[in-house]
C-alpha cells in the first residue's frame, strides 16, 4: 500500500512530500505501528502546532486501508498521534530513518535540504521545551478581540501622536489625517451632535450597538461616542483588560478620566465638557475605513 509522507514545516509555501510504494511503504508502516500509550502531556506536545518543523504527516494513499493506522497520522519525536492514536512509534527513530533515506527522494527542495534538516533539529528542541498551560474551560477573558493598551506606540511626540485623534485611536486605525467621522465615505457629520456624528461613523462601517451595555462584542472591539454639544466629539475604546482608554486630540493616549481615575465605563467617567453620551459602537477589524 503506497504512503505519502509530508514534511510539515512551512506556513505559506506548500510542504514538501514524497510518495513511497512497495517494500519501502511497508517498511514505513511497520516502523509506525503503535507501541506504548503516550502521556497526555506528550500527546499534547506532539499535536500542538508550532511555527517551523512540526513533524511528518504520513497518510496511506492506496485503496486498502491498513488496519494498524488511521487515515492520517503525525509523527514527531518518536511519537505518533492521529484519530484514536497517541502512542510511541514502534521505531522511535523513524524521523532519522526518514531524513537519511526517503527524504532524499523529495523533489523541488534541492536548495533547501540543508536548511530543512537544520529546522528539523530546531523544531525538535522547541517541541521538547514547549510549555503547555491548559486554560480553564470556558475561557474567561475580558475582551479577547480588543486592542492592546499600548500608549507608547501612539505617544511618540511626533507624526503618530500629532496627526491622529480620538477617532483614530478608538478605531485602532492610524491614518495620520486627524480622521473625521464620515469623511472617508463622503458623509461627514454636519453638526456636533449625537444625531449627526453617529450616522457619519456608521458610514465608515462602524456598527451602532446601543444595547452593548459595556459588554465586549463577539467580533471586533467596543468603542463609545460622546459629544461636547456644538463643539466637538470624542471617542473611547475598550481594551483587552476591560478598561477604557482614549486619545484627546493630538495629546497623549491615556487610560484616565478627568478625575485621574481608570475608566471601567465611559458612561460614568468624568468626561469634562463631553456631557452627551451617544452610544456604544463596534469596530470590526478590517471592515472600517476612516480618513
Amino acid at each position: 500500500m503506497p504512503v505519502k509522507i509530508t514534511v510539515d514545516i512551512f506556513s505559506g509555501r506548500p510542504n514538501p512530500s514524497v510518495e513511497l510504494t512497495g517494500k519501502e511503504a511497508q517498511d514505513v508502516l511497520e516502523r509506525l505501528k503503535p507501541a506504548e500509550t503516550l502521556t497526555a502531556d506528550a500527546a499534547e506536545k506532539t499535536a500542538t502546532p508550532i511555527l517551523g518543523y512540526r513533524g511528518l504527516i504520513v497518510e496511506p494513499t492506496g485503496k486498502e486501508a491498513d488496519k494498524g493506522l488511521p487515515g492520517r497520522i503525525r509523527t514527531a519525536g518518536g511519537n505518533i498521534v492521529g484519530r484514536g492514536l497517541a502512542h510511541r512509534a514502534a521505531d522511535p527513530e523513524f524521523e532519522d530513518f526518514f531524513f537519511k533515506g526517503p527524504f532524499k527522494k523529495v523533489q523541488g527542495v534541492t536548495n533547501l535540504r540543508g536548511r530543512i534538516l537544520q529546522e528539523v533539529e530546531r523544531g525538535r528542541i522547541a517541541r521538547e521545551n514547549l510549555a503547555l498551560k491548559l486554560l480553564p474551560f470556558p475561557i474567561k477573558l475580558a475582551c479577547l478581540c480588543a486592542p492592546l493598551y499600548e500608549p507608547n506606540w501612539w505617544n511618540d511626540a511626533g507624526q503618530k501622536q500629532f496627526n491622529n485623534n480620538c477617532y483614530n485611536y478608538a478605531t485602532n486605525y492610524r491614518s495620520d489625517t486627524f480622521a473625521q467621522p464620515g469623511q472617508a465615505a463622503g458623509a461627514m457629520y454636519t453638526s456636533l451632535t449625537c444625531a449627526s456624528v453617529l450616522p457619519a461613523a456608521v458610514a465608515d462601517a462602524l456598527e451602532d450597538s446601543p444595547g452593548a451595555n459595556n459588554k465586549c462584542p463577539a467580533e471586533g472591539h467596543l468603542v463609545a461616542l460622546v459629544i461636547a454639544p456644538g463643539w466637538d466629539f470624542h471617542w473611547y475604546r475598550k481594551g483587552r483588560n476591560g478598561f477604557w482608554s482614549h486619545k484627546p486630540g493630538s495629546t497623549a493616549v491615556t487610560n484616565q478620566d478627568n478625575s485621574g481615575n481608570l475608566i471601567p465605563d465611559p458612561r460614568t467617567a468624568n468626561r469634562g465638557p463631553y456631557t452627551d453620551f451617544c452610544t456604544f459602537m463596534v469596530v470590526k477589524h478590517g471592515h472600517i475605513k476612516i480618513q
Binding site: 480620538c166 477617532y167 473625521q180 467621522p181 466637538d232 470624542h234 486619545k247 486630540g249 484616565q256 469634562g272
Partner: protein, 122 residues
Amino acid sequence: MGTSKSSEHAQAYVGSVSVFSGRPDPVWPLGEEQARRLLTLWESLDPWAGGAAPSAPPLGYRGSLLRGGGREWHAYGGAVTLREGPGVETRLDPGRRFEKLILSTAPDGSLPHPFLDQELHA
C-alpha cells in the same frame, strides 16, 4: 533658552489652544506686534521653581500655545513651558498673563468660550 533677538519678531508665529479631541485645534497667525508682546512678556517671566508645572485634565481646555521658529510655548495654570528641540524651560506666569495674552489674539468666533471660561474664570 532666551529669546531676546529682535530679528526673531519678524518670524512667523501662530497662536493655538489645546482644547478639542475630535476636531483639529484652532490655530491662527499672529501679527508682528502680537508676537513681539508675547516674546517680551516671556523674557520678563521668572524661572519656575515649584516642582512639576500644573497639568490639565485630558478632556477640555488644556492651555494656550505659541509656536514659531522651531519653538513652542505651552501656557497653562500659571506656568509657561518652552520646548525647543530636546530643551525644556518652564517659567512662572503670574495671573496667567501669558496664557491669556495668547488667547486674546484669537480671531472672534474661533474659541469655544464655554470651555475656556469655565477654566480661566474658575
